[in-house]
């Protein structure tokens, strides 16, 4: 069960992504090459949302 979506807040910081292999957090700004700092893995995952999600325990 999800909560309501609210208006997109203005972007304040560059978004942190997680490398697929070494799991280190990389800050990627727009138009930056997509590459992990430590290893050469190029697939990144977004972090989990900071928003509250409510579930029914059923």
């Amino acid at each position: 069960m999800d909560t309501h979506k609210d208006v997109q807040p203005p972007k304040q910081e560059p978004i942190i992504y997680i490398c697929g292999e070494c799991h280190t957090e990389n800050q990627i700004k727009s138009r930056d090459p997509i590459r992990c700092r430590e290893c050469v893995y190029r697939i990144k995952y977004k972090k989990r949302t900071k928003r509250l999600v409510i579930f029914d325990a059923r």
Binding site: R48, L52, I54, F55, D56, A57, R58
Partner: protein, 346 residues
């Protein structure tokens, strides 16, 4: 003589034959048997009815109820399962869950954890009320983060050594009192029943951070609210030997039943079989696989003697659960009688 015996058997015993069960239904309603007065009589009922507690400890109760019909006994069983309320987790507010266990699976598991809180001290939440008040809600916090253990041995592969907080147990749940709950409930009384239930497993970098709201509910709504694990009854077994069984056959006979049911005694040098304690039998019907002995025994159950077994999940003691079930049934009868009175007035 034989006729009255047969009639008595038909009235009071459920007979287990080799290929089927006979006399299952109650037939002793008024007018069915000539010569018997079966009209319901309060005094006769009170004389025949009794409740005997056989065994009780903190979580399980075994008691006998003698002299009532199957419908009432079954009503108690169904009410114990589905209509005695408890408190259980209903809403899970997830702030962060980076574990392997998906949010909804985690929420489902949390709902099934028995919560040690007397449901009689709480009220049902009103329909449509999302926030909940202190009289109908309990709040718990679960916040665990797994980290790597810096002091672990270099080549160890034991997760208990390598990681810290990698197993999330119910003991990691903390109670957050709402309103005046801190005054009403002393420290440590509101908690999960068991503190060693494994909720999830984590690895370094993973975190679970959530809030849980518990409400009062009944098993009919969701099985997590059922206070028993489980409640059942069986009828008292009645095993009679139709002919004397002696010698080697007596030993064979005692092996066909659960241990303690049939005793073999030495009488004048011969071994004689005797039914010692039929209550212990679980009716495997092994006797019907023995061609010689199956004619010597009659397997039956006493139709109005119910052996109840109630096991509580730990929320309330089992005897309290039975009295709550009785109160629920009385409430239903009262509501029904009030309905009837209301109709008559029109």
């Amino acid at each position: 003589m034989a006729a009255t015996q047969a009639v008595e058997e038909m009235r009071s015993r459920v007979v287990l034959g080799e290929f089927g069960v006979r006399n299952v239904h109650t037939t002793d309603f008024p007018g069915n048997y000539s010569g018997y007065d079966d009209a319901w009589d309060q005094e006769r009922f009170e004389k025949n009815f009794r409740v005997d507690v056989v065994h009780m400890d903190e979580n399980s109760l075994e008691f006998d109820m003698v002299g009532i019909d199957a419908s009432i006994a079954n009503a108690f069983r169904r009410i114990l399962l589905a209509e005695v309320p408890t408190m259980a987790v209903e809403k899970v507010l997830v702030y962060n869950n980076t574990s392997i266990v998906q949010d909804e699976i985690l929420a489902h598991r949390l709902g099934l954890i028995p919560i040690h809180a007397d449901p009689r001290l709480f009220e049902y939440r009103n329909q449509g009320d999302e926030e909940g008040t202190e009289i109908d809600t309990l709040q718990f916090r679960l916040q665990v983060r797994c980290t790597r253990n810096p002091h672990a041995a270099k080549d160890s592969s034991d997760p208990n050594e390598l990681y810290m907080n990698h197993k999330v147990y119910t003991r990691h749940m903390t109670w957050i009192p709402l309103g005046n709950q801190a005054d009403l409930f002393p420290e440590g009384t509101i908690r999960p029943v068991h503190d060693d239930i494994l909720i999830a497993q984590l690895r370094p970098g993973q975190e679970i951070d959530l809030l849980m709201h518990c409400v009062k509910g009944i098993g009919k709504d969701h099985a997590k609210f059922s206070p028993v694990a489980t409640a059942s009854y069986r009828l008292l077994p009645d095993i009679t030997l139709l002919e004397p069984v002696e010698g080697e056959a007596a030993e064979e006979l005692s092996r066909c039943f659960s241990p303690g049911v049939v005793e073999v005694q030495e009488v004048q040098g011969k071994k004689v079989a005797r039914v010692a304690n039929p209550r212990l039998d679980t009716f495997s019907r092994e006797i019907f696989r023995n061609e010689k002995l199956k004619k010597a025994v009659r397997l039956a159950r006493v139709r109005d003697h119910y052996i109840f077994s109630v096991e509580s999940t730990g929320v309330l003691p089992p005897d309290v659960l039975v009295s709550e079930a009785i109160k629920v049934l009385m409430g239903k009868c009262r509501r029904f009688l009030d309905e009837l009175d209301a109709v008559q007035m029109d």
